[in-house]
C-alpha cells in the first residue's frame, strides 16, 4: 500500500498563513503534517510558485517545504510558465521551474534537457501496479497541451498501461468550477485517455488551477460535463487547488461544471490517494480548515473508493 499526497496553487510569495501560531505558511503546515503523520510515498505539488515562478518564488517554495523535496515532484502551473525567457538552443521553458528542479536531482521530478517545452518535465512513476502520469499543462493559455509537440501525444498513448490502472496528474483539470471553469482546450488530452469505443484507460485525473475543491464521478469521453457514467466508460475528476493561496468562489457567476460528489470553496485542503492494491484505490480530502490550525479532518462526503474489476 502506498500513500500519495497532492496540493496545488499555494506556494511562493504572498500565500496565506496559519498553523497554531497563525504565522506559518499554509503549504508548510500541510507538508509537515503529511511527513509526520501520513507515511507519504510521494508528495505532488500541482503547480504555481507565486507570483511568477521565478528564482525568488522557488526559493520561497524551498523554504516552505523545509528545504526537503526528496519525495516531491511538481506538475508545472501557469504561474510557473510566466517566467519563460527564450533560451538559445532550448526554446520556451519556465525558467525558474526548470532551474530549480535541475538543482534537485534527489527529488522525484526529472528534467529531460534533451527535449523542448513541456516534454522536458513529463514523466511517469509506477507504484503498486498503478502508473502515475505527470503532465505539463502550464502553458495552457497560449499553447494548450501538447503545445504543438506531437511527440508528447505519442509518448502518452504508447505508455498507458492496459486497462484503467493509469492516473493523470496535471495543473489544469478538464473540468472545474469557479472563475476559470472547464478547460475545454484539454479536450484532446481527455479523449486520448479513452479507447475508440469509449472505454476508459484511466481511473482518475487530478488537477488544480481552480482555487477550490470539486470531486466528480466518472465522466465520459464525449460528454465530460454531463452526468456521471459507469467507471469502465468514465474517469473520475478531482480538482484541488486549495493549497494556500486565496479561494475562488463556486457560486453565482462561476464558470464550469459543478462536482456531483463534493464541492468546497472555503477551506485549505490536501488530497490523499491510497493505492490499496493493484486493483483498488481510495481518494480522500484532508480538510485543514480556513487557517490550518491543527490536524486535518477527512471529509466523508468527498471520499472515493475505486475498485477495478
Amino acid at each position: 500500500m502506498s500513500l500519495i499526497y497532492w496540493f496545488a496553487d499555494g506556494v511562493g510569495e504572498g500565500v496565506n498563513k496559519g498553523g497554531p501560531d497563525g504565522q506559518t505558511p499554509i503549504p508548510s503546515v500541510m507538508v509537515r503534517w503529511a511527513r509526520a503523520n501520513g507515511s507519504p510515498s510521494l508528495i505532488i505539488y500541482g503547480g504555481d510558485a507565486y507570483l511568477s515562478g521565478d528564482t525568488k518564488a522557488f526559493s520561497e517554495f524551498f523554504n516552505q517545504v523545509d528545504g526537503d523535496v526528496g519525495l516531491m515532484c511538481e506538475t508545472p502551473g501557469n504561474h510557473d510558465w510566466k517566467d519563460d525567457p527564450d533560451l538559445p538552443g532550448i526554446g520556451r521553458i519556465p525558467h525558474g521551474y526548470d532551474s530549480f528542479w535541475q538543482q534537485h536531482p534527489e527529488s522525484k521530478q526529472p528534467i529531460d534537457a534533451s527535449k523542448k517545452g513541456g516534454a522536458r518535465y513529463e514523466h511517469f512513476i509506477d507504484l503498486d501496479g498503478w502508473r502515475l502520469f505527470f503532465l505539463d499543462t502550464g502553458d495552457y493559455d497560449p499553447n494548450p497541451w501538447p503545445g504543438g509537440d506531437e511527440s508528447r501525444v505519442t509518448w502518452l498513448t504508447s505508455h498507458l498501461l492496459p486497462g484503467q490502472v493509469n492516473i493523470i496528474f496535471a495543473h489544469h483539470s478538464r473540468l472545474s468550477r469557479g472563475r476559470h471553469g472547464d478547460n475545454d482546450d484539454l479536450d484532446r488530452l481527455w479523449r486520448l485517455l479513452f479507447d475508440a469505443d469509449g472505454t476508459s484507460r484511466a481511473t482518475l485525473m487530478l488537477g488544480g488551477h481552480e482555487h477550490n475543491v470539486s470531486v466528480y464521478g466518472p465522466r465520459s469521453q464525449n460528454n465530460p460535463s454531463g452526468d456521471s457514467v459507469t467507471l469502465d466508460k468514465g474517469i473520475h475528476v478531482v480538482v484541488n487547488g486549495a493549497g494556500g493561496d486565496g479561494h475562488y468562489s463556486q457560486g453565482l457567476f462561476a464558470h464550469g461544471t459543478k462536482g456531483d460528489v463534493f464541492n468546497d470553496d472555503e477551506n485549505f485542503c490536501m488530497t490523499r490517494i491510497t493505492l490499496v492494491d493493484q486493483r483498488t484505490l481510495e481518494v480522500d480530502l484532508l480538510d485543514f480548515g480556513t487557517h490550518a490550525k491543527g490536524d486535518p479532518k477527512v471529509v466523508p462526503e468527498a471520499h472515493l473508493k475505486i475498485q477495478l474489476t
Partner: protein, 85 residues
C-alpha cells in the same frame, strides 16, 4: 458596464466581487493576503475572459496579520461587497 470590486473583508483579507449591470453582486475570490493578486485576477477576467467591467479598488485598511487572532477563531467566507461601502 459591470463592476469588479477589490475590497477587504472584516479580517483584512482581500476579496473580489462582481457587480452586474442589473445590480446583482457575487463573490468571485476571497481570502487573499495581498491586493496585488486580486487585482491581477480582475485584470485577467477583463483581458482573457472578456468581462466588460471597470475595476474599483478600495484603499488598504489593515493587513490580515493584524487581525489574525480574531480571524483564526471565526473566519468564514465573506459576503460579496462593493468598494467604498
Amino acid at each position: 458596464m459591470d463592476k469588479l470590486h477589490v475590497t477587504q473583508d472584516a479580517y483584512g483579507y482581500w476579496m473580489l466581487s462582481l457587480e452586474k449591470e442589473d445590480g446583482t453582486l457575487a463573490l468571485v475570490a476571497h481570502q487573499f493576503e495581498t491586493a496585488e493578486k486580486v487585482i491581477e485576477i480582475a485584470n485577467e477576467m477583463v483581458r482573457e475572459q472578456k468581462v466588460n467591467a471597470i475595476l474599483i479598488v478600495d484603499p488598504p485598511r489593515s493587513t490580515p496579520g493584524s487581525d489574525a487572532s480574531e480571524a483564526q477563531v471565526d473566519y468564514a467566507k465573506p459576503a460579496p461587497k462593493k468598494a467604498g461601502a
